[in-house]
């Protein structure tokens, strides 16, 4: 059911050599290719639209869900809704990822809307990798959207990576945090050639003691374009920190737009943005260790995006 190309994509996006342990749902070329549920984690196909509901029972600890998506059929376009219902007092890891292999002329596109409803005092670690390859003229397009609702005391850490191969992407994240909830986002993004990436974060801190820490590290090469927007709204005594740190190369273009809104005297919000080329002294240092300029550049970038 899963062919070699799709296997390679699974390896790239989810680090999977074989079927994962725990719950999983593998979607290949628009179809559910494999699924496993556990006593605590149920996966149900939606009836009204494409996608699945992932239901995690309260108190589920040390379990994981893999939901990778691979597309190898040129010209396939899909829009999938995955809703995660995480009960109270859970501690789980969710591994998502999307790989598009496009050898054909048609554009392949995956739009994924992930909604997370995280119950009180639960902890979720979410890992997402996006990857494109194949040498067809058709574009590889991914538009991931995440909607996050964190109940009191819930914690979510999102690690998202998109390093190469995706021609066009709009990455949209909206989060709403209740009292004492905590959101950590680490995004790593690399664009090259004529690629375009738009990142858009909106975090609303509604409850007392809510905190958000959103850090985006990006590298723009070639003639690629990146546009970064982060909006943080503090409606209670809370702390918010966003950071966009970009390395720009060649003829690339990067825009960073921060927007902070404090609606409470004790909302403490910070934004940091830095865009610049690789520091000359970093290249020089690595060259004194015997690396060529090219090798030095590669090391600096891969470290920066790690």
């Amino acid at each position: 059911m899963i062919d070699q190309i799709q296997k390679d994509m699974l390896k790239a996006v989810a680090d999977l050599d074989s079927l994962p342990v725990g719950a999983y749902n593998i979607r290949a070329d628009g179809q559910s290719a494999a699924r496993n549920t556990t006593a605590n984690i149920d996966i149900v196909t939606k009836t009204d639209k494409p996608g699945i509901d992932i239901i995690i029972r309260p108190g589920t600890k040390k379990e994981s869900v893999h939901i990778p998506v691979v597309i190898s059929q040129s010209g396939l376009k899909e829009c999938v809704y995955n809703d995660f219902f995480v009960g109270e007092d859970c501690d789980v890891v969710i591994i998502a990822g999307c790989g598009i292999h496009n050898c054909g002329a048609g554009d392949s596109q995956h739009d994924g809307i992930h909604s997370f409803f995280v119950g009180k005092n639960s902890k979720v670690r979410y890992i997402e990798k996006h990857y494109g390859d194949g040498d067809g003229a058709g574009k590889r397009v991914m538009n991931p959207e995440s909607v996050v609702e964190l109940a009191e005391g819930a914690e979510m850490q999102m690690e998202t990576t998109q390093i190469g191969g995706v021609d066009d992407t709009l990455r949209k994240t909206t989060a709403r945090l209740a009292a004492g909830a905590k959101l950590i986002i680490r995004e790593a993004l690399l664009t090259e050639g004529d690629q375009r990436a738009d990142t858009d974060f909106t975090v609303t801190l509604d409850g007392e003691g809510a905190s958000a820490d959103v850090v985006s590290r990006t590298v723009a090469k070639g003639r690629s374009t990146q546009h970064y927007t982060s909006r943080v709204i503090g409606n209670a005594p809370c702390t918010g920190h966003t950071e966009c740190d970009s390395i720009i190369m060649d003829q690339a273009k990067v825009t960073a737009v921060p927007e902070l809104t404090a609606n409470d005297l004790d909302a403490s919000l910070i934004h940091e943005a830095a865009i610049g080329k690789i520091a000359g002294e970093q290249l020089v240092k690595l060259m004194t260790l015997g690396l060529t300029e090219q090798e030095a550049e590669e090391q600096i970038i891969s470290g920066f995006l790690r």
């Binding site: 590290r217 740190d245 520091a279 002294e281 970093q282 020089v284 240092k285 690595l286 060259m287 004194t288 260790l289 015997g290 690396l291 060529t292 300029e293 090391q299 600096i300 891969s302 470290g303 920066f304 995006l305 790690r306």
Partner: protein, 236 residues
Amino acid sequence: MLKLEHIGYEVEGNKEILHDINLELNDRFVAITGPNGGGKSTLAKIIAGILTPTEGRIWLDGEDITHLNITERARRGISYAFQQPVRFKGLRVRDLLGLAAGKTTGVTAACDMLSEVGLCARDYVDRELNDSLSGGEMKRIEIAMVLARGTKLSIFDEPEAGIDLWSFQNLIRVFEKMYEQTKGSILIISHQERILNIADRIIMIADGQVERMGTRDEILPALLSSTCKVLTDKME
């Protein structure tokens, strides 16, 4: 092994930073000293290929290396520990030491160099070389990188700066050990009497020129007694 012939360095506006430097380094342990702004770091950068001299030639073991770039000189066996170490977001101590050591030595052996400079390898190998490391820690890692390379010429630019008093004696021992156990030559830029005291030869650079040069016994007593305060104690 290293020969500098009529080295001059000018920056725009005809400002002369170095003037007609002629040196032949055949001793295994040479110290360069002299007042702030005298041109010591500029000279080190010219040797490492980071700056190109506007005048003169540089020879390494009989080969004219004046037009070789930084990488080529590094591969010919020149290492340089910067006066101000460079920070990297994302690269870890183990990455840098691994790159310094190259494939043949490997990361593990390179990490042993951390203990040499008084850092517990386990606590440091996975740290990023970012702003979270203190100045003294950066300085020690910088030295460890040069030790890990183990090349025929190692240049240290004020290695003592920022190193605490207590560790200073250990630092001296690092250089002594390097001198005894390796075949490489050491070129240290320093203001510290205790470092000058273990050098075979001392060169004094002021106003972009070699002001004095000779064996330790010829130079050091005069330096210490002279009214000119060359040896500023830089230790904190």
